[in-house]
């Protein structure tokens, strides 16, 4: 896929989503980047800022199979993965695919389900397959889980376990729209939900080709080194009890590739990693008790690291007499 084609396709998707979500270009692009990086997205924010809308808009913009799961405390794992049902006609068990058998799976309020049900997603998200009663069923490509969760409301929720969180490539916050965007939203949404008239501007095949393009983006050794530096720093930070996993560095680079491609580049910059460090790493790490007491959020810890760590180049280092910025 040529750069022009890629650019046109991505711009179309972004523009399409922006009909629904006003003034959140960066978030929308990040969501798209996660799709192109073959990752999964966790949208975490207070109620009513458009988490579900974003998920649905992204799903609608691409002409592919979309399933939605409303996570509730009584949801069972088999509702997610599927279940073997006895077929009386042929006297055999027959597999009834669950909700994950789609290109895009929108999991709403994922933290309302019990850990048992949440864990049903572990295999599908990482290995893109479902194993039920010893039989493994592959999932479709592209496959992406877009989950939303509400961090404020703690009653009756089950926080995602670390293993589950680590499987999400990025966690993004929607944030409140600015006044102008909110005004525009009032205008548009008062008469009719634009989501209803949203049409697909792309299809699964195009997305697969776009994913292939993203895979081809060049990552120089210096940038790889930088990714490792960032991840290592989280493991060595005195503020953190748990650092980022190797999966984190892999997904950081993958997403960075997607971001670079979205910006029309065929190479990754440290800037991409810097922009992604918080969304990709902050939800995977656990601060120490001290840091928590000091009200240091993981976002702040990661952002601080990004500001602190030197950028590796492929040249001999230390040629410039750098001093700390005052």
């Amino acid at each position: 896929m040529s750069a022009e084609e890629f650019s046109a396709a991505t711009e179309a998707i972004v523009a399409n989503i922006e009909q629904v979500i006003e003034g959140k270009t960066a978030t929308v692009r990040l969501a798209l980047a996660v799709l192109l990086a073959e990752g999964h997205l966790l949208i975490e924010d207070v109620p009513g800022v458009g988490k579900t809308k974003l998920a649905k808009a992204l799903a609608r913009s691409i002409d592919c199979s979309v399933r939605r799961i409303q996570f509730t405390p009584d949801l069972l794992p088999s509702d997610v993965t599927g279940v073997n049902v006895y077929n009386q006609e042929n006297h055999d068990f027959e597999f009834k695919p669950g909700a994950v058998f789609a290109n895009l799976v929108v999991g709403d309020e994922i933290n309302r389900a019990s850990p048992k049900t949440q864990s049903a997603l572990l295999e599908c998200m990482e290995e893109r397959q479902v194993t039920v009663d010893g039989v493994t069923y592959p999932l479709q490509t592209p496959f992406m889980v877009i989950a939303t969760q509400n961090p404020i409301e703690m009653e009756g929720t089950y926080p995602l376990p670390e293993a589950q969180r680590d499987r999400f490539t990025a966690r993004i916050a929607m944030g409140y729209p600015d006044a102008k965007a909110e005004l525009a939203m009032l205008d548009v949404h008062s008469s009719q939900d634009p989501l209803d008239v949203l049409t697909a501007v792309s299809d699964a095949a195009t997305v697969r080709r776009m994913i292939a393009t993203v895979r081809d983006v060049h990552v120089s050794d210096a940038v790889k080194q930088y990714a490792i530096t960032l991840v290592t720093a989280t493991r060595e930070s005195p503020d953190l009890r748990l650092g980022a996993s190797p999966r984190a560095s892999l997904q950081l680079l993958r997403t960075a590739k997607a971001i670079a491609a979205l910006e029309g580049r065929d190479y990754v910059l440290p800037d991409d990693l810097q922009a992604l460090a918080v969304p990709v790493m902050a939800h995977r790490i656990i601060p120490t008790a001290d840091a928590q007491l000091a009200r240091r959020t993981t976002d702040a810890i990661v952002a601080d690291m990004v500001h602190r760590l030197p950028i590796p180049t492929d040249r001999r280092s230390g040629t410039q007499p750098y001093e700390r910025r005052r």
Binding site: A3, H218, S220, V223, L269, D271, V306, Q320, E323
Partner: protein
Amino acid sequence: MNNRRNLGFIAGAATIMSAVPLAGIFQHWTWMVQSIFAVGLITATATGVRALRGRVATQGLAMFLVLFLTLTLLFSNGHSLLGFIPTPETVAYFGRLLGDAGTQIRDNGVPVEDLSGLLFLTVFGIGVVGILTDLFTVGLRRPALSGLPMLAIYAVPVAVFPDSVSIFPFMIGAVGYLWLLVADNTDRVRRFGRRFTGDGRDVDAWESSPLTSAGRRLAVVGVLAAVVLPVMVPTFSTSVFDSFGGEGNGPNRGGNGKGGPATVNLFADLAGRLNQTSVQDLVKVTTTEGDPYYLKFGVADELTSSGFKTRTPSGQAIGSADLPDPNQRPSFGVSREKYTAQVQIGKNFDMPMLPVYAEPVSTQKIGSDWAYDPNMGIVFSLRSRSGGRSYQFDYVRSIYTPDELNSSPELSADNALRRQYTQVPLVVEVNKLVEDLTKNAKTPYEKVRALYDYFSTRNGFRYSLSTVEGTSGQKIVDFLHNKTGFCEQYAAALAWMVRTAGIPARVAFGFTRGSNVRTENGQNVYQLTNRNLHAWTEVYFEGFGWVPFDATPSTYVAGSVASDWAPDVNRPTAAPSVSPGSVVPGGGGDDVNPRGDNNHDPNAGLDANGQPITPAPVWPWYLLGGVVLVIVVLSLPMLLRRRLRRRRSRQVKASQAADLGEVVGAVPDQPGVMVIVSDSGADRARELAHEAWDELLDTLIDFRVPADAAETPRTAVRRLIEQQELPAEAATGARQLAMAEERARYARTPLDPEPLSGSLRAIRRYLISTSEWRVRVYAVLMPPSVTARWRLAFLDGVSGTAVKLSRMRVWLSRFNPRRVFSRG
């Protein structure tokens, strides 16, 4: 603030106290009055500037300015405006004064009169010490450092007095220094705030702490030990034990106690006195003669294998009869003139001989215990010594011409004089050399001249006092081989060689002409110092008597005199020829080296005309060299930075797209940006982009725009554009640089570096135009990019060393016996 003011005054007082040791140098106390005046003004200035809250640098500048004004007021001597405002003329005059001071230091022994040059130097020096003391004590709060400039003052009397220095002035200086330290520490302790006692009662600032008395006692014991111990220990030159033991080392090293002239080793005495670092006035002579030759007091005419020795002179007592008058001898055309001379001998010249001009015919005021040896031509005594005497004598000066001397016949081999004065130990090398040199000479004078002319700098002869004295056969060979020595070796070698040629010769000792102090009533007064002590050769010519020849290179002998018959062989125009009549160009009598007392100074030379030149003072050259060195060191960062910038911009500019391979416009939204595709060209383009980027960062650092290692090129440039509000052109250039750099670092294909040079220029131009003047000056003269790199390199080195050392310590601690044994 009040305490600080006190401290300033104490610093001034300590400076003055530390200058007390200089008192021994001057006869009067003028220097002290002037120094107190200067230091007082300096202290007052410093206090004033501090009251106005001036910085340390401002204080220093103000103090230097006031010192300059004070010096102008005290010394400008009309070379200034309104008496105290310096003009360029003042500076030039001060330079002359300093030059004078250098001469005066050489020419005068201690104690000296109030010579303006020396006074200027002293007040200037004490003023500078005062400024430094004030800065160290009050400005930098490091009073201990002010000991260093004070030490510089102490070094002066120690260097000037050759024998011993009284310790009492030094104690005054030490007390001043201690006072300074104590005052500073008291002040420092008081700054800690008010002290409290356990019961909550706060203590008055002046109430001493419980430890004070113990501290005070310790201090007293320490000072006592430091002061008293050196006095008691005999190694100190004014040690108590020494002064009980007798006279100590008196100045008359030559004559050991009483004894006849033969007991004096004139060679050793000469070498010893010439090697003295200080200048001692020995003899003052007043003569009616215009250009007197050397003043002679001793002769060494006995030559054995161990060298020339002084015989015991013999002669009749002076006063009992007239001395032989040369005028009674046949003249052979020699012009003879009679003169009168008065000699006043100082205490430091204590010999059993009296210096006289050749040849004395009558004497006055010389006691009857002195005798005259007509053969040697010296006045001697077996009982008395010369120290402190003054006397008068008439003498006849003979002026020979080469023609006349050339007519002197050779002495017959059985002549008694020849037998006595041509005895030479057999030294084959000398004989051979003499034979070579005199093979073309026919008359005795030609032979002597041939030998005399040999001792020329053209033949590699040099003057140096640092050679071993001695005139024995082996040493003569050494000297003729090394060609380095001083007067006694030249004199002995020439005498030896002349003797070898069969002509009577001996070594004479005395004084060169010395420096003419004044001329009054047709009488010339000459001051002779130990530096004027000299040895030369006397050669006997039949019919003429003993004729002096001074073979020592005249350039290095102050007051040396060349003559018609023995011209200065180092003068280029004086051909080493003995042909009669062609010896001395413009030979108008004697020719004196006009450098006065500046004796035995190897820094002198001859100018193109063969005229001895007055040596310019050397210190301006050192000063100039120092200034140049400082400028070079200070401008090093600037030069390095310029060179780096030139190199980078040349490289970037020189890159042509053609050299770098195929170029395509591959960036969709930036049509002007070209990308290098070929592999080899890509590497080169990458390097150039890096160079350009480094240059941008260096420029930013130079102009105090902070750079950060955690910033990517694009963030750095974005911040630069925002913070510095770069105009459109420079902003585009900056973005281009960032893009080139990030593509060079991270992309498959780098950018064409061609436009980068222009971008750099635009950014630099903009930064120059917008930054403060101070930043600009620093960026050019002392670029922070260079200095910071040095600083980082230094710190890296230091920390690296520290790490290595600690590792080594850890390693060594394995061998710590405690650890070793605790294992077992």
